[in-house]
């Protein structure tokens, strides 16, 4: 680690799992694998893996440089302790969102099962309020599209 990070740690999150196979995608919201974020990152924390931006939270300093670089605006800074994340940016409705195997279709299952009222579907996309989230991952486990993941890799693989 180049600079000592301050707790609570923050890191960039690229909200796309890249399941569509990058550039051939019909998804107009997801990562294109353009690599602008990778280039912008001074800490070598982002790599384009399998055509999709992937953040190494250990290396990421949460500086936010990549956020502005992303042409699709799918990168945001979040608290690493909020390990349950929506890894999709698709705002299309229902069937139109069925462009990749892990797209959010805005079905609202997450919202219904969340005990903390931390998940809301906004513009057909699930959004987790990390200040409210209790980290249980019920939304991730129940998501029929596997669009919500456990960054730790325990509840979702």
């Amino acid at each position: 680690m180049a600079v000592k990070k301050r707790f609570p740690y923050r890191a960039a999150l690229a909200a796309c799992q890249g399941q569509c196979g990058a550039k051939e995608t019909t998804c107009s919201y997801g990562c294109m694998g353009c690599g602008k974020c990778e280039t912008a990152c001074k800490f070598g924390a982002i790599s384009i893996t399998g055509g999709t931006a992937l953040v190494d939270e250990e290396k990421c300093m949460g500086c936010g440089k990549c956020v502005g670089e992303c042409p699709r605006g799918i990168i945001r800074i979040h608290e690493c302790a909020g390990y349950i994340v929506v890894k999709c940016s698709n705002r299309d409705k229902g069937k139109e969102a069925l462009v990749c195997p892990t797209s959010c279709i805005g079905c609202g299952m997450c919202e219904r099962v969340c005990t903390a009222e931390a998940v809301k579907v906004i513009d057909n996309l699930a959004v987790i309020d990390e200040t409210r989230c209790l980290g249980c991952g019920m939304c991730a486990v129940k998501c029929p599209r596997h669009a919500i993941i456990d960054v730790r890799g325990i509840l979702t693989s």
Partner: protein, 862 residues
């Protein structure tokens, strides 16, 4: 169907069933340290470690855990068990214990990765787990201590081990709660046990026209389906007033969504739910009463067929002439205040296991605040006294486990099926069913002279008591009597009314009505201080009740009265904060210990020397997490020549232990404590000629104590309303930059702290509970009188959200009972809200008249 194989505590195990990990661990592997607190992913009581990370076991299902390594506290190493038991005991982190195994695993997962965690890292490691008892302060301390011990590799000696009153000994129930082998009712899996549950009303107010149970009864796996006709005794039970229906009969009216219409017993939980869906109930849906306003409107529909109106109780308390005194006052203020519903949110949902024992009696293993209440109410229902009730561990109560919620249903099902039956509420049911804190609307007038001396107080208050009486009458009464505050003045008049509605019932909740009226009077006192031109501290100091003084209820207070000492204890920091320009708010309160107002209030203790040559303490007094067992053992060690190892504390039951009243009214330390002290006297008389416990084998020593008081309005010049009062001053300091609470100081006069460590834990827990009450907690009820079903939506404070809390325990002798110890349970939650609200006024100049207060960073939109 596949077979799912996983590794649990180092052992390979498999199951054919796709089920939640929680159900698998508890029901199949019987790893009952993994507690079922909500099954919603909220509470964290079921936390386990999977591949090094904490996970709430109610979330993942067995089919997705193939090959994963799972750890519960049963799988901790011997060293870890010792470290965590010591650290949690030394820090005083254990109260009801229901959250503790989860907290312990959070501790382990953190320390495995980070041997020197900062305070903030510890708070984050605990923040997805709720604790309702401790306010997290001592759990955080326990993690810090555990980290140090892990690093150093040596477990130190206990800092206190003499078990005398005043000693900060480790509570006696630490180990069973840390290691998770202590049993709550849900941890009992009896041979041949089946499961029971109630079908509840679909509408808050409707007439039941018919109940058809045929299809449900025919479902394989269903053992019994009962309706009101199957009740052998009284259908209507209750603490004082018997207006709580066990089941609504055909032709009867439902009172809220929690009313049971039928009861089912089945072999397993899945069949149980299926059977409930097969019961056909026809209703005539009627207009429901949602609020006090609707309840008191002329021509309002009645909540109860058998009542004349929707008024449950009306109280009028008057002394002196408040109207005249106010009219002659230099300064007069009148304001309207409102306080909300509050959910107890104890970590352990209601559960009871009932069965017919070898004597043919119905035995009930219960989590409640009085085994004898359960005994009497279930006896009424079954029309027999052939009932035995015993407490298992109780996972928190706070007033919410005083009424029958599951005990009577379990008893009735066991009676009919002759099988052991477990009835356990889901968290959604728990949120609906047990009585809540009453919402109040209050109009209060205070008159003061030019020096801020209170001349008179006049008030009118109303409460929504919901669907049945519970303790709505006494709560209203206590709200009225204590609205006067801990001040010396003569003219006081208050009128209070409690209304039935079709909302969930309201009843006892830590503070018992005083939390509500204290908010109103303390807020007015703060405003009055500004009017007079003195500080809120000064106005309290000038009016404070002092030993020998007369309270507005006419009682002459004794030498243990320590309000002034609590004010003085915060003075330096108060002045410092003021001088530094920090927003600081203050609130004071008094709270009775003991039921008082002329009601017979008995403490009873039986000390039995058993074959093991140990003295066993039996008392029909429930420990709901506050630490009564430790208090009684310290009482015995102090008042006899025995040592800790000679003494065994037995949990409350109704066949050996004598009735020592409900755990309510902050009464057990004082009332049962004094009974225990008296029993010790008898033991010491028997030991006078040098006899040892061995010589006394088989003997019993009985002590009882009547906390004698005068009824309200007794025709004596100075009635003794309560045998003792605790006093407190709490102070809130805000951080100007963030607008958040920087520090809460809570100074409490407790007479004599039996165990200062436990006492601090009560204070911290009470303060955090009421910080939530003041700033953010929520218990929304919709237009169908339906409250939230989600535990996580209650907005209880989490470990990373609490400010610095400084408990100050003040001993002041003078009470001639229980070695001077006054109960601390409730008062910890009373002055917090007005102190916080006043601090925010000092920050932004906005007065707040309702809770939770607006305009703070704790407020949540949407």
């Amino acid at each position: 169907m596949g077979i799912y194989t996983l590794k649990v505590n180092g052992r390979e195990v498999s199951t054919k069933k796709k089920q939640s990990l929680l159900r698998f661990l508890r029901d199949e592997l019987r790893l009952t340290s993994v507690k079922d607190g909500c099954s919603q992913g909220a509470c964290g009581a079921c936390t386990v470690i999977i591949d090094g990370e904490t996970v709430k076991a109610c979330v993942p299902t067995t089919d997705r855990l193939e090959g994963k390594e799972i750890l519960t506290v049963e799988g901790l190493s011997e060293w870890e068990r010792k470290v965590f038991t010591y650290a949690y005991g030394e820090a005083g982190a254990v109260q009801c214990g229901f959250c503790i195994p989860g907290m312990v695993l959070c501790t382990k997962a953190l320390l495995d990765k980070n041997t020197e965690p900062s305070e903030e890292e510890i708070r984050y490691a605990l923040r997805n787990n709720y604790c309702r008892c401790t306010g997290y302060v001592k759990i955080i301390a326990a993690v810090k201590l555990a980290a140090r011990i892990m690093r150093e590799g040596v477990i130190p000696e206990r800092s206190c081990d003499d078990w005398k009153i005043g000693s900060r000994v480790h509570r006696l129930d630490v180990e069973e709660k840390v290691l998770g082998y202590g049993k709550y009712p849900d941890d009992f899996y009896l041979e041949g046990m089946c499961y029971g549950s109630a079908l509840r009303s679909k509408y808050p107010r409707a007439r039941v026209l018919s109940v058809d149970t045929k299809e449900a009864k025919a479902l394989p796996g269903v053992i019994a389906v009962l309706t009101a006709e199957d009740i052998p005794g009284e259908n209507k039970i209750g603490h004082l007033k018997h207006d709580q229906y066990t089941m609504i009969p055909v032709g009867g009216l439902t009172h809220y969504l929690g009313d049971a219409v039928a009861l089912v017993a089945a072999e397993d939980l899945e069949t149980l739910e299926k059977a409930k869906k097969l019961i056909k109930v026809e209703y005539e849906v009627l207009l429901a009463i949602h609020s006090i306003e609707e309840a008191k409107a002329s021509g309002a529909p009645k909540v109860f067929d058998e009542e004349e109106s929707n008024v449950l109780a009306h109280k009028h308390v008057s002394r002196g002439n408040a109207g005249e005194a106010i009219s002659k006052s230099a300064h007069v203020l009148t304001e309207h205040f409102e306080t909300p519903w509050t959910e107890h949110a104890f970590l352990e949902p209601e559960c009871a296991v009932a069965y017919r024992d070898e004597d043919g009696d119905i035995r009930i293993i219960s989590t409640d605040q009085s085994t004898y209440c359960t005994f009497h109410e279930c006896g009424m229902l079954l029309g027999t006294d052939k009932i035995k009730v015993e407490n298992a561990l109780v996972g928190g109560g706070f007033g919410g486990k005083e009424d029958m919620t599951v005990q009577h249903h379990a008893a009735l099902l066991a009676w009919h099926t002759n099988r052991p039956v477990k009835v356990r509420l889901t968290r959604a049911e728990s949120l609906l069913i047990h009585p809540k804190r009453h919402p109040f609307v209050m109009d209060v007038t205070v008159g003061c002279d030019e020096n801020g001396k209170i001349m008179g107080v006049k008030a009118k208050v109303e409460s929504d008591t919901g669907a049945f009486a519970s303790l709505g009458g006494p709560v209203l009464e206590r709200a009225c009597t204590h609205a006067a505050g801990p001040y010396a003045y003569e003219n006081f008049e208050i009128e209070g009314t409690a209304y039935y509605t079709n909302n969930p019932p309201a009843g006892a909740f830590r503070g018992f009505g005083v939390t509500q009226t204290c908010f109103a009077t303390e807020m007015l006192l703060n405003m009055m201080a500004d009017k007079v031109g003195i500080t809120p501290w000064e106005i309290r100091y000038r009016n404070a009740i002092r030993p020998g003084g007369v309270l507005p209820n006419g009682q002459i207070v004794d030498d243990s009265t320590g309000l002034v000492e609590t004010l003085e204890a915060v003075k330096e920091e108060y002045d410092k904060a003021l001088a530094a320009g920090k927003p600081v708010g203050i609130g004071s309160a008094m709270k009775n210990a003991g039921v008082g107002v002329g009601i017979p209030d008995w403490g009873r203790v039986k000390l039995i020397v058993k074959e093991d040559k140990k003295l066993h303490i039996y008392s029909g007094a429930s420990c709901i997490g506050q630490g009564l067992g430790t208090v009684l053992v310290q009482m015995v060690v102090t008042n006899t020549d025995l040592s800790r190892d000679d003494i065994v504390y037995e949990r409350s039951n109704t066949w050996i232990a004598p009735d020592s009243g409900t755990t309510s009214g902050s009464r057990q330390t004082l009332v049962t404590g004094e009974a225990c002290r008296r029993a010790c006297e008898k033991l010491m008389e028997a030991k006078a000629d040098g006899k040892t416990l061995e010589d006394l084998k088989g003997q019993e020593f009985y002590g009882e104590y009547l906390a004698k008081t005068d009824p309200l309005g007794a025709n004596v010049p100075n009635p003794v309303s309560h045998v003792a009062y605790g006093y407190a001053t709490q102070m809130c300091i805000l951080d100007k930059k963030t607008g958040k609470v920087e520090k809460l100081v809570a100074a409490h006069d407790v007479g004599k702290a039996v165990n200062p460590l436990s006492c601090e834990g009560q204070i911290e827990g009470g303060v955090v509970m009421s910080m939530g009450y003041a700033l953010q907690e929520s218990y929304p009820i919709d237009e169908n009188c339906k409250p939230t079903e989600k535990y996580g939506a209650l907005r209880l404070l989490r470990a990373h959200e609490i400010p610095e809390i400084e408990p100050i325990v003040i001993d002041k002798p003078g009470l001639k009972a229980a070695c001077g110890a006054i109960g601390i349970g409730e008062i910890t939650s009373i002055p917090t809200a007005p102190a916080i609200a006043d601090a925010y006024y000092r920050l932004d100049g906005e007065r707040r008249y309702s809770l939770p207060i607006f305009g703070t960073p704790y407020e949540r939109e949407g």
